[in-house]
């Protein structure tokens, strides 16, 4: 068997608690001053990739790939610090204006020549949350896929994976490799980058590819027309004052208004 090569597609997204505002064209958020982080499900995909490589015990490689502007480099360095062997940065300044198919095409163009044994990515991103990139990637690469995976192991014939279904149900799926898996959060405990890892990451190779070189721009399949603030579904009574005052007011409301105490 040839050495295992696992590609992990990673997205950089605004930090979870980052204050968001709509940009002036109302077609995306204002990005200046925002802090960014690795998309959490992708962090789990990376973790699964590192574990698979370690458990195989043979010479193998984990390659992190990400599309986005220059700032994406920090997320790729984080992946390298955690144990990825090298990275591919698809430099692309207009990621947010591309639809899921267009982004997956970029990733597929970068991944195809690598001939991976396995491609992993998080099941969805925390910004757009479309939950499609991995599944589209599989189609573009002509590979089988399994989604919402919490556990994966290599077998003699390919892979055995544990897939999460709704309402606490699971199933095992067997599929041949190479394949694409989309990873659900929580399957493993995430590792931290060690000091040694951070130091090593500085010398690991990051290859940059220009999005424009990866293929033809095609007409968008869907258009994100406008970003808006959500409408309140209920009129929420906000209780103010000190913690004690708010708590007392709430208990009063729950008892006499909502009648649920």
């Amino acid at each position: 068997m040839t050495d295992m090569k696992i590609i992990v597609a990673i997205k950089q997204v605004p930090e979870r608690d980052a204050p968001l505002r709509i940009d002036s064209a109302a077609q995306w958020i204002g990005e200046s001053g925002l802090r960014y982080a690795m998309n959490e499900p992708d962090a789990y995909a990376l973790e699964e990739a590192l574990r698979l490589k370690e458990s195989a015990g043979t010479e193998g490689e984990v390659v992190a790939v990400s599309a986005g502007p220059e700032r994406v480099g920090t997320t790729l360095r984080e992946a390298l610090a955690k144990g990825a062997d090298r990275a591919i940065h698809i430099v692309c300044g207009d990621l947010a204006s591309r639809d899921a198919l267009a982004v997956a095409r970029l990733l597929a163009a970068a991944i195809q020549p690598e001939n991976p044994s396995l491609v992993l990515t998080g099941l969805q991103s925390e910004d757009l949350g479309q939950g499609q990139t991995g599944v589209i990637l599989a189609e573009l690469l002509g590979l089988p896929h399994a989604s919402l995976i919490v556990q994966a192991e290599m077998t003699a014939t390919g892979l055995k994976v544990k897939r999460e279904l709704e309402e606490g149900w699971f199933q095992f799926i067997e599929l041949p490799a190479p394949a694409v898996l989309t990873i659900q959060s929580g399957g493993n405990k995430l590792r931290y980058a060690t000091l040694m890892g951070i130091k090593r990451a500085k010398t690991k190779p990051v290859r940059t590819l220009a999005a424009a070189d990866l293929g033809l721009a095609s007409a968008p399949a869907v258009i994100l027309d406008q970003v808006t603030l959500p409408q309140k579904q209920k009129s929420t009574q906000m209780l103010s004052g000190s913690a004690e005052e708010a708590a007392a007011a709430l208990v009063e409301k729950l008892k006499f208004e909502a009648k649920v105490l």
Partner: protein, 322 residues
């Protein structure tokens, strides 16, 4: 047909709530486009696939039948729906946003050089499709430029099935061409990880805890409130992922669905995956330090404040009121 194809997910128990909601979404779309609705689903002649429609029935229903589809696989479903859609050429194909649809529809859409507009919460004139961004903190309005079918999936609970049932429609049987070798995955039987010993579904009061609690060591703060209220303890996904509470206490799309009289969301931002699990609650209280957290959009009462101050104060106030 050049109309709207509403897709039903195959379940042993016949028509699902999700299908009726998807059909309701299809009717909203039909209202804006003037197009006719047809339904499709995988199931053999013996299944009661299109046994019931809430509201007016679709103009026709297509039962996709093939022995290789008796068990769901993405490869099988992509092949089957690809052939049906090429035959019918609908302008729109509308799916429930289920785990199953998430697994195969993006792949199906790619075969048509299309991208699925997923997890749609509202349809407006245009038609325009509204879906959430940033875990519910923002909304996005999407449009389809035309030229090929537009693939849409509908969020659970977003559209209300309305009207009388009892209407029937003609059922067309469609047998796709599928070869066993084209199905690359081998799915096993579904199972539950452990016997569910906590039934949150019937709890009258629930205190749910989220990331805001910061550390497992702080959990006694919510446990104290829960016991003062006589409530069950529940959690959003990250808490269970971290192993701070067992998976069986998870509420949301991958956990349990609850409908208590009182649901207190403590340090839960209100990502959609959690909200779908608590929609049936009679009264929702949100405590969160972020005033813009989406949980406040669905809460009846809110306290924007520090969990670590509010929780002990609330526990004390509840005890005092008894």
């Amino acid at each position: 047909m050049s109309g709207i194809l509403v897709v039903q997910e195959a379940r042993k128990d016949g028509n699902t709530r999700a299908f009726q909601e998807t059909l309701a979404a299809g009717r909203v779309l039909a209202g804006y486009t003037g197009l006719e609705i047809e339904a499709a689903g995988v199931g053999d002649s013996n299944s009661n696939l299109f046994a019931e429609f809430i509201g007016p029935p679709p103009a026709a229903a297509h039962a996709i039948e093939h022995p290789l589809l008796s068990r769901y696989t993405s490869d099988g479903y992509v092949l089957a729906f690809e052939q049906l859609i090429r035959k019918l050429q609908p302008a729109y194909a509308v799916f429930p946003h289920s785990y199953q649809a998430r697994d195969f529809v993006p792949r199906l859409a790619t075969r048509f050089s299309q991208a699925l507009i997923s997890d749609v919460t509202a349809i407006e004139s245009g038609p325009a499709f509204v879906r959430q961004l940033f875990q519910g903190k923002m909304n996005a309005v999407y449009r389809h430029p035309g030229g090929g079918p537009c693939f849409v999936s509908i969020q659970s609970g977003a559209f209300r099935p309305d009207g009388t049932s009892g209407g029937v429609t003609t059922i067309d049987h469609f047998t796709p061409e599928i070869d066993a070798a084209q199905i690359r995955t081998r799915p096993g039987d579904p199972f539950r990880a452990s016997a569910q010993t906590v039934d949150l579904g019937s709890a009258q009061r629930i205190v749910g805890v989220g990331r805001g609690i910061k550390d497992a060591a702080n959990l006694p703060l919510v446990q104290d409130l829960a016991s003062a209220l006589g409530a069950e303890l529940a959690a959003s996904r990250p808490i269970c992922d971290n192993g701070w509470l067992p998976m069986e206490r998870q509420v949301g799309s991958s956990g349990q669905t609850v409908a208590p009289k009182l649901y207190v969301a403590a340090g839960i931002s209100g990502a959609i995956q959690h909200l779908v699990g608590i929609k049936g609650s009679q009264c929702i209280v949100a405590i969160n330090k972020d005033r813009d957290a989406p949980i406040f959009e669905v809460a009846d009462y809110g306290i924007a404040g520090d969990l670590f101050e509010v929780l002990p104060a609330l526990t004390a106030a509840v005890k005092k009121a008894k």
